[in-house]
């Protein structure tokens, strides 16, 4: 069964249609790249999959392992294995990162009927993952994303992804604001999570990221729908020709 099926999705924000019948099927183990110019609706798609309020779905459906995702609250989706690494992770002053990680992990496990992590197991796991992502321990003591640089915020998203072990990872512009070294570390973190059971949807504006996270499929989005789908070579093609051709076509 497909992991994620987006069928003819139509989405409005404040009476303006942003997605005009978008379809996408993602199977376990696959890595899909979604590329497209600014404003084409990439973040909107990721938000609707994660369940962000404020979007009106006026047509189509989203199935996750055959279940209607749109009927689920955002926390239910998270517990079922949907994870969105945000383009703009928010800062949450006063909520210590460590406390947040533990609360979130245990909330998900509880919702799945699993036992809570013991403190030593949890700490061990966080330590391992943060080390591999080059995240210093003192960062975890601060408020969630508070005072983090752009790159640190992105690494914190990947840390969560590694910790929660979701089956669908959506990465929204993970590369924005990262220099080449930071990009490599983050991409290594993502690649380490690739597995036959887990799928990734990598949203990016630039082809550069796809040198590090090599996709199985590339979709080009323009003006609210997928206008072209191909293999990884499509990304390279875009690098040369740009998005202009699709913007006219859409």
């Amino acid at each position: 069964m497909a992991l994620l099926e987006v069928k003819d999705l139509q989405v409005r924000v404040e009476d303006r249609e942003i997605l005009h019948g978008l379809s996408l099927t993602v199977n376990p183990g696959e890595v899909h790249a979604i590329m497209g110019p600014n404003g084409s609706g990439k973040s909107t798609l990721s938000h609707v999959i994660a369940g962000k309020p404020g979007y009106e779905v006026t047509g189509g459906q989203i199935l996750f392992r055959g279940e209607d995702l749109l009927e689920m609250a955002p926390d239910e989706r998270a517990a079922k294995g949907v994870f969105l690494a945000f383009q703009y992770p928010v800062e949450i002053p006063g909520v210590a990162t460590m406390n947040f990680l533990r609360t979130a992990l245990n909330a998900q496990r509880k919702a799945r009927g699993e036992s809570e992590y013991s403190t030593p197991d949890f700490l061990k796991k966080v330590r391992e993952v943060s080390k591999s992502l080059n995240i210093p321990q003192d960062m975890l003591k601060r408020g969630v994303n508070v005072g983090f640089s752009g790159g640190e915020k992105k690494r914190n998203e990947i840390l969560q992804m590694a910790l929660f072990e979701p089956s669908l990872c959506i990465l929204d512009e993970m590369d924005s604001g990262l220099d080449i070294d930071a990009l490599r570390i983050a991409a290594d973190g993502v690649n380490a999570l690739r597995s036959p059971e887990r799928a990734m949807v990598v949203i990016t504006h630039y082809q550069r990221l796809l040198n590090y996270i090599v996709p199985d499929f590339v979709h080009v989005m323009a003006k609210g729908s997928v206008v072209k789908t191909g293999g990884k070579e499509l990304a390279l093609e875009l690098e040369g020709s740009g998005y202009a051709q699709f913007e006219h076509a859409a």
Binding site: L84, I92, A104, A107, G143
Partner: protein, 445 residues
């Protein structure tokens, strides 16, 4: 028309209350004269209402209607219930752990429920009644005087039945907090208490005032005043906690005078009562004194919680910081009024006042009004106020990570309140405040 009627009504009711109570009130001679004058002053003004600037948002004629009769002198049964309530509060962690308790039951000091002996030699505790009744103290009517003309304080001076008068000798470092516990055991009655706290030079102390009602005591009105002087280079952590019954009315006034280099950390915590007003008047009277005033106001149902803070900079080189936060649920109403006064001599004053309210329901209401009143030119002062709902973007981030709506809200409310609570220096007091806030959050429907 209505207003006149209600004033006359409440005036008459109170006149009866005063006449009836008179035989029970301590102090003769000049003390009695001061009382009578205080009562006259109250009668002229009546309960404060919305056209009195200081009470604009807390109209006691609407919220309180009238002053209830004085609670009777507690009998053995009342004291037994109070003892049980104090013990229960300790079990339920609604009392500060390890504090030396001074207990007032229905406005009367109860030596048997108190831990005076544990305070040691350097702390002198007498009851206000004792001091006012002492023939040698004929002149101690000053204990009933304050600098304000506030009608509720006049009423307090007129009606006060008891309180504690605490003196801590120079250089003492108290190793445990002192907790003044007010217990209400009767329904539809009022109590009036006044306490004095004098900290000598270099004293280090932590003081808590708290209010509880025994099971079944309904509709109690408390009017309390605490007058504190913080000696030169002394350090006081002062916590005012209102966790009392859901139908209680609590009017508390605190007067603090800081001598040179004294430090006051004041925290007010309101998470109970139908109507509560905590008004603190702080005078930075000695150079280099520092105030850090913080508090949280947690209101729900139809509760009304008011914090009023007057910070008076009289001399140069003093610092004041205020950070107050309210969480308002259901149809609750929170009020914060504050003023930083900088007198002409108080150059180099550094004063700041922030207040924020979190509105947790569509019907929740918050009034925030910090003000500056500056008469010196070389000062740094600022104030700010904000109210609003929980940030949707933050809520969604947490929910996308698996937290339920309630869990996500609780985490954000806790973080919001935590920024005020973490200002409490004393660890025991801080943990106590955190626990009360968690409890309030846990009870959110």
């Amino acid at each position: 028309m209505n207003l006149v009627l209600s004033k006359t009504d409440s005036g008459r009711a109170v006149s009866n209350v005063f006449v009836k109570a008179n035989g029970r009130l301590p102090g003769a001679g000049s003390v009695a004269d001061i009382r009578a004058r205080a009562f006259e002053a109250y009668k002229r003004a009546g309960l404060p209402h919305r056209r009195i600037e200081e009470w604009k948002y807390t109209d006691l004629r609407v919220l309180m209607h009238h002053v209830l009769p004085l609670a009777p002198q507690p009998d053995a049964a009342a004291l037994a219930r109070a003892r049980a309530a104090v013990a229960q509060a300790a079990v339920e962690k609604r009392a500060v752990e390890g504090a030396a308790k001074l207990v007032l039951v229905d406005g009367v000091f109860s030596p048997n429920l108190s831990d005076i002996a544990e305070l040691g030699q350097s702390v002198n505790v007498r009851t206000l009644r004792e001091v006012l009744d002492d023939p040698a103290n004929e002149g101690r009517g000053d204990l009933l005087l304050t600098t304000t003309t506030d009608a509720v304080i006049s009423l307090n001076a007129a009606m006060v039945t008891d309180g504690v008068v605490i003196t801590v000798t120079d250089g003492t470092e108290l190793c445990r907090p002192i907790q003044i516990v007010h217990v209400a055991t009767t329904s539809s009655a009022s109590s009036f208490t006044r306490s004095h706290l004098r900290l000598g030079k270099g004293v280090q102390a932590a003081v808590v005032e708290s209010f509880v009602a025994v099971e079944g005591a309904r509709n109690h009105q408390a009017n309390d005043a605490v007058i504190v002087s913080v000696g030169e280079a002394a350090n006081l952590d002062h916590l005012h906690v209102m966790v009392g019954g859901a139908d209680a009315t609590n009017i508390s006034s605190g007067f603090f005078v800081l001598e040179a280099s004294a430090k006051l950390k004041l925290f007010s915590m309101n998470c109970g009562g139908a109507v509560s007003r905590y008004q603190a008047f702080i005078t930075l009277a000695g150079e280099g004194s520092e105030l850090s005033a913080n508090g949280i106001n947690l209101v729900r149902d139809k509760q009304h919680g008011d914090t009023t803070l007057i910070v008076d900079h009289v001399v140069p080189h003093c610092t004041s910081r205020a950070n107050f936060r309210a969480a308002v649920d259901d149809r609750g109403h929170s009020v914060f009024q504050g003023r930083i006064i900088v007198r002409p001599d108080a150059q180099k004053t550094d004063g700041r006042m922030m207040t924020r309210a979190l509105l947790l329901s569509d019907e929740a209401e918050a009034d925030n009004k910090p003000e500056l009143d500056i008469c010196a030119d070389d000062v740094t002062c600022g104030h700010g106020a904000a109210s609003g709902a929980l940030d949707e973007a933050l809520l969604f981030y947490l929910r996308a990570r698996g937290l339920s709506e309630k869990e996500a809200q609780a985490l954000l409310i806790q973080a919001f309140l935590g920024e005020a609570i973490e200002e409490i220096a004393d660890r025991t007091l801080r943990e106590f405040a955190i626990l009360q806030a968690e409890r309030w959050l846990g009870a959110r429907g």
